[in-house]
């Protein structure tokens, strides 16, 4: 199940905000077998250039019934900046879908907590949960420009809240406060699915584990192959000396498998 490595035609490359892009490619084979939370490795360089050397891992943001898949990403480093310069009609190699995505459990309230561009791995999940259960979506960011696609989420549920640190979208505040308030209000069993900066996910995990609410997290790590060949994308396990490998065992983990480090 290592996915497909295919040359994919770029259909769309849209700049949504200062450095945030939506890239859509034709990849029917990948689309057909994508589960929420999975990712692809994308070739960023042109003409077989060897610099940068590695592909870039990106979450699959959206799938279309027409065989298209989309990636929502921020051009932060050399690789993603090069990727953002690729244009419709060009071909890029895409390897995917990869990794273990979210494990959907219905019959309870699902709370999605997205921080910044962490929302990129949560949309397919939100769409999946919408089919069958109560869905609460909480999104937090520094400012509105960091999360240019919130409408994709807000249209999925009445229980949608967004906070920004500067108040440029939704209420001014922190996502953890929003989550705390939500947890006090809900009744019945709940599950948390989160993706965002490490410090945010750590705070979310500590908050919900005290209440014994199960939590799944989608993690990032420096990655070379994406398919378990190199074992480079290790993160420490919570309960032993060993490591988890983000590409193969993740990117989604039960939060209590992960060693979150000192001071919460």
């Amino acid at each position: 199940m290592p996915g497909f490595d295919i040359p994919a035609n770029i259909v769309e490359q849209t700049r949504l905000a200062h450095s945030i892009f939506l890239l859509t490619v034709d990849a029917p084979a990948i689309m057909d077998s994508t589960d929420p939370g999975q990712f692809c490795m994308l070739e960023v360089q042109e003409n077989n250039s060897k610099d940068p050397l590695l592909r870039r891992p990106l979450s699959i943001y959206k799938t279309g019934s027409n065989g298209q898949i989309s990636f929502l990403y921020k051009a932060v480093g050399k690789g993603t900046r090069l990727l953002s310069k690729r244009r419709p009609g060009e071909i890029i190699r895409v390897l995917g879908p990869l990794g273990q995505g979210f494990r959907l459990i219905h019959d309870c309230t699902s709370i999605l907590v997205g921080g910044g561009l962490g929302i990129a791995s949560l949309l397919l999940l939100a769409q999946g949960i919408k089919q069958s259960g109560r869905l609460i979506i909480l999104i937090g960011a520094k400012n509105a420009a960091e999360i240019p696609t919130v409408e994709d989420f807000s249209r999925l549920t009445r229980y949608f809240h967004v906070v920004t640190e500067d108040g440029s979208l939704g209420q001014r505040g922190m996502i953890t406060d929003l989550l705390d308030q939500t947890l006090q209000e809900i009744t019945g069993t709940a599950r948390i699915y989160t993706c965002g900066p490490w410090s945010m996910m750590k705070a979310v995990y500590h908050m919900v584990s005290k209440r014994n609410i199960p939590c799944q997290v989608s993690l990032e790590a420096a990655m070379a192959c994406g398919i378990g060949l190199c074992l480079g994308c290790a993160i420490p396990k919570s309960n032993s000396r060993g490591f988890l490998h983000v590409c193969q065992e993740g990117p989604v983990f039960d939060a209590d498998q992960v060693h979150w480090g000192q001071n919460s």
Binding site: P2, D5, I227, L229, C230, L231, C233, P236
Partner: protein, 311 residues
């Protein structure tokens, strides 16, 4: 009617032999970049390539180094995986049975902390059905000698070679570290200690510093550099070793295209290993193989051995 003398298209012979082990072609998957083999199934036709070198196994499982383990550098990759592996017993029990279905010779890479461990590893692999050769990583630290890598001292490199040869009748390939003053001295020693072949180069020791956080970019501080950046260094060392020993030499280091592989074969390598390139493009080995075959056809080279340059 023109009586055109049609030249018969040649069908190049790519088969080679290493220490008595026949391989259908000279393109192998390098240890540490093809996992335990099956991870690449479906992304690469494992039956087509010359050989698969399973990631380095130790006598007991190793958890590996703390992250960050990877840093990308210009045209290169620095890694400090720390030889994470499941250990030889788990490999033989859980991985080998499925690998036997692949019609490509399996070579197992081994590593140890002492000469005794290398001996023990080779002994256990000796009777294992489906394993055709052993590649010995001698770049690891010799714990009993204060952590100096086995492969940087000619005498220690020779004693590891002696030990594994004594333990098994399987062909032994000694994989050399490039982090030495004179690679030919080590090569000659392991050849006279009975090695059936030599593969080189392992990664070049390097480092990177994260200037934003003002700390080494790898948790382990140092790591091994691989990828296209190291190819000229690897090629030079292969050229030297080919001319220093009489046993077959397998070239490794930054090979990602057929042209790269042809350079190594021209330098005199009997075979090549594809490493980091597989991480980026899983089908690289097949594409390299096709490219070598095409070159031989175009240039009328009947046997892959004839690619070697004189002198």
């Amino acid at each position: 009617m023109i009586n055109q003398k049609k030249s018969t298209p040649i069908s190049p012979d790519l088969s080679i032999s290493i220490g008595g082990l026949g391989l259908k072609n000279p393109v192998l998957l390098a240890s540490g970049t093809c996992g335990y083999g099956m991870e690449l199934d479906d992304l690469l036709d494992l039956d087509q390539i010359g050989g698969i070198i399973i990631k380095g196994l130790s006598i007991r499982p190793r958890p590996g180094n703390s992250p960050p383990r990877l840093v990308e550098t210009p045209c290169g990759l620095l890694n400090s995986i720390g030889l994470e592996n499941m250990g030889i017993e788990a490999f033989l029990r859980d991985k080998l049975p499925l690998l036997r279905n692949i019609k490509t010779p399996l070579i197992v890479n081994i590593l140890g902390n002492s000469v005794e461990e290398y001996f023990e590893m080779a002994r256990r692999l000796d009777g294992a059905e489906g394993i055709k050769a052993i590649e010995v990583n001698i770049s690891c630290p010799n714990v009993k000698a204060g952590g100096i890598a086995f492969g940087t001292d000619p005498e220690t490199a020779a004693s590891v070679t002696h030990a594994v040869k004594k333990a098994t009748g399987l062909p032994i390939i000694i994989k050399l570290t490039p982090n030495v003053t004179d690679i030919t001295e080590i090569a000659r020693k392991v050849a006279s200690a009975g090695a059936d072949a030599i593969s080189l180069i392992n990664t070049l020791l390097g480092m990177a510093i994260d200037i934003k956080f003002r700390r080494p970019a790898l948790a382990n501080v140092f790591g091994g550099l691989s990828g296209p950046a190291i190819k000229p260094v690897a090629l030079r060392m292969v050229w030297q070793v080919v001319r220093a020993v009489d046993i077959p030499v397998i070239g490794i280091g930054g090979i990602s295209t057929p042209d790269d592989a042809l350079e190594f074969l021209m330098a005199g390598a009997r075979a090549v290993e594809i490493g980091t390139a597989t991480l980026i493009r899983p089908s690289t080995a097949e594409e390299v193989l096709t490219g070598i075959r095409d070159y031989m056809k175009t240039n009328n080279v009947q046997n892959v051995k004839n690619l070697r340059l004189p002198a």
